[in-house]
């Protein structure tokens, strides 16, 4: 499959297979006017399969969000058709306003304007819990 070459833009590589669309939504890529390609289930030497997002524009990315999805994601910044930077996100200590607490007993379920905030409680197992009710993020 052929996707047009990026001149100035971003390639988000090594997204866990099946989570590319989730990331597409979280990053609100649907709101961009430029070309955006989501490649699902691409072959990966390391992981068997992976998803890839190609964005034909250099935009600000929420690295905390990328780190939450998977710290092994690779972000390649392309300028003039060449990769000028390669970055890995880190597992964030907190993640704000992205994932939502599903606990119906949580204060966030009744106070709609409260920001949903999750805190990393187990780095090894990548467990995040709601700061208000301690419910584990799914």
């Amino acid at each position: 499959m052929l996707i047009g070459t990026i001149v100035d833009g971003i390639v988000i590589d090594h997204i866990p297979a099946g989570r590319g669309m989730e990331l597409y939504k979280y990053l609100e890529l649907d709101k961009l006017d430029c070309e955006v390609a989501l490649i699902k289930n691409a072959s990966s030497g390391k992981r068997g399969r992976k998803d890839i997002l190609k964005i034909n524009e250099v935009i600000d990315l929420n690295f905390d969000l990328l780190g939450y999805i998977d710290p092994h994601i690779t972000v390649n910044i392309i300028r003039g058709g060449r990769r000028v930077e390669k970055r890995h996100p880190e597992l964030p200590e907190t993640i704000k306003g992205v994932i939502r607490c599903k606990n119906p007993r949580c204060i966030t379920s009744v106070e709609q304007e409260l920001e949903h905030i999750f805190r990393l409680t187990d780095r090894e197992k990548r467990v995040y819990r709601c700061i208000y009710c301690d419910t584990r993020a799914k």
Binding site: N103, R105, C106, I107, T108, S109, V110, E111, E113, L114, T121, D122, C130, I131, Y132, C133, D134, R136
Partner: protein, 304 residues
């Protein structure tokens, strides 16, 4: 400025200091009678809780302070739709410290994030109730003379019982505490308590369905109520509520110096025949609750 939302907010040293302060208050009440003069406690109770609210209020009154507040959401601006954050900001203009009970988990944290005065979590749904845990710790310390090196049995609703989860978290920070978790299969301790507290700290514990079988080894027996409001199905509640009832015949094999605790209110899980047994500590526990809240108010208001 500091708040108390979760018992884990306090270090073991701070808990020990609070217990020592409470014991000093018990020994020298007059010394503390004017410590909070001209200070106001706001009790913001969005759901009824007579015992906890009156415990906080009497704690502040015995420190020479004053009390304002409400005892149900309907008599507050919450009924008009005011957010917890806004209420906390407003009350900060009137009082020096807040004690908040709320049916939603995390509401006191929201208050603490927005108030300019200390906030004490007086219970948020089935989540945290740190002053109950402090009460339990003070009671165990006063009854046993120590907080380590003992076997603690927790009996009843270990799945929804927040007091048990907090007690496990707090007691497991002391050396040599073993736990016996006594409950029916349906009400066993939840996985997150098992993994985050017991396994993470390598705590020795065992689980059993039989109160009688566990009784001989216990130094402390912490009984809990099977709470109707935590069940979705009424049929499940009715089926399980009478499972573990403490009666005098079950105490025959118990140690002579066993301490029986209960966060109250009880329904029928401890027979009234136990009340006159010297091992029953649950009414002393209520009194201890007032003293530890006095110590906590002093600490958070930074009154020496």
């Amino acid at each position: 400025m500091r708040s108390l939302i979760d018992i884990a907010d306090l270090s073991v040293q701070e808990i020990d200091e609070l217990i020592a302060k409470a014991e000093d208050i018990i020994a020298n009440p007059d010394k503390y009678a004017e410590k909070c003069r001209r200070k106001k406690l706001a009790t913001l109770f969005y759901e009824p809780s007579t015992r906890t609210r009156l415990s906080f209020e009497s704690a502040m009154l015995e420190l020479g302070g004053q009390v304002i507040g409400f005892s149900e959401a309907q008599s507050s601006s919450a009924a008009k739709g005011e957010s917890v954050a806004d209420t906390a900001r407003v009350i900060s203009c009137f009082a020096d410290i807040i004690a908040m009970r709320h049916p939603k988990e995390g509401a006191p944290l929201v208050a603490a994030m927005n108030a300019s005065i200390p906030v004490i979590n007086a219970g948020d749904g089935g989540h945290n109730h740190p002053t109950q845990t402090l009460t339990d710790l003070l009671t165990i310390k006063r009854e046993k003379g120590r907080l380590g090196h003992m076997t603690v049995g927790c009996c009843g609703d270990l799945k929804f019982g927040r007091t048990v989860h907090s007690l496990l978290g707090a007691m497991s920070r002391y050396e040599g505490v073993d736990f016996v978790l006594i409950s029916p299969e349906e009400l066993r301790i939840p996985e997150h308590v098992r993994s985050d507290i017991l396994a993470a700290r390598d705590i020795k514990y065992r689980e059993t369905e039989s109160l009688s079988e566990a009784m001989p080894e216990l130094d402390v027996l912490y009984m809990t109520r099977v709470q109707r409001e935590r069940f979705i199905s009424e049929a499940d509640y009715v089926r399980l509520k009478d499972t573990y009832i403490l009666t005098p015949d079950k105490l025959v094999t118990a140690k002579k110096d066993l301490s029986i605790l209960h966060p109250l209110p009880r329904v029928n899980e401890i027979s009234v025949a136990i009340d006159s047994d010297p091992r029953a500590c649950y009414f002393k526990q209520v009194l201890n609750g007032k003293y530890i809240r006095m110590a906590l108010i002093l600490k958070l208001l930074e009154v020496e």
